[in-house]
């Protein structure tokens, strides 16, 4: 069964450094998402991406965050200057084309630890 893959599985970064989290969505999917889960808290929506542009973003997704689809397969989340509170599990998800009520499929996440 096709999967969403995320790399790295664990990223440790010094506060203030830039970090890029990578995702390869399911190949025929066109809707892409990033979520995060801070330890002990709910999974929270960050951003959705469709047709090479952001379609929606949450309050969390401020100017320090950006997303990109640099080629036909990768979908990246960049945090420009990391803060301690950015430590969390970051999940990428994707959804099939042209279908409204279809489930989003998730990768196994990247654990981001900011020191």
């Amino acid at each position: 069964e096709p999967e969403v893959t995320q790399t790295p599985s664990h990223q440790v970064t010094q506060m203030g450094q830039e970090v890029i989290l990578r995702c390869v969505p399911i190949s025929n999917h066109l809707y892409f998402y990033w979520y995060r889960q801070i330890l002990g808290q709910k999974v929270e929506f960050l951003v959705s991406f469709y047709n090479n542009e952001i379609s929606e973003k949450s309050e969390i997704f401020d100017d320090q965050f950006s997303v990109e689809r640099p080629d036909g397969s990768n979908f990246t989340l960049k945090i420009r200057s990391t803060k301690l509170e950015d430590s969390a599990m970051y999940f990428c998800a994707s959804k099939g084309r042209g279908q409204e009520n279809q489930p989003q499929h998730f990768g196994d996440g990247t654990r981001l630890s900011i020191l």
Binding site: S58, A93, N101
Partner: protein, 111 residues
């Protein structure tokens, strides 16, 4: 933001019995509801969903019930198996947009 609530952080059930996981929501605009299962060190895995125009959806051992007037949905697992032990998240969507998750319920199925 408490639009989707799972009030039971944990549930233990004997193998072979029924597991019932509950979820309440406050946003009447939600039109699609999903259950995800999550094992440690893995991402959420889609389990079953239901549209707001239905009140029941069944897939093998899993059945989701939706009570719109009560803004309540539940997931029934029958019979429960030890491999079902995981965290179960309820999630909801408005107009095919982003998922709003509950806080999760840890299900433990005892052999």
């Amino acid at each position: 933001d408490q639009q989707v609530k799972q009030n039971s952080p944990s549930l233990s059930v004997q193998e072979g019995r029924i597991s019932i996981l509950n979820c309440d929501y406050t946003n009447s605009m939600f039109d699609y509801f999903l259950w995800y299962k999550k094992y440690p060190a893995e991402g959420p895995t889609f389990l079953i969903s239901i549209s707001s125009i239905k009140d029941k959806n069944e897939d093998g051992r899993f059945t989701v019930f939706l009570n719109k007037s009560a803004k309540h949905l539940s997931l029934h697992i029958v019979p429960s198996q030890p491999g079902d032990s995981a965290v179960y998240f309820c999630a909801a969507i408005v107009s095919a947009r982003q998922l709003t998750f509950g806080s999760g319920t840890q299900l433990t199925v005892l052999p």
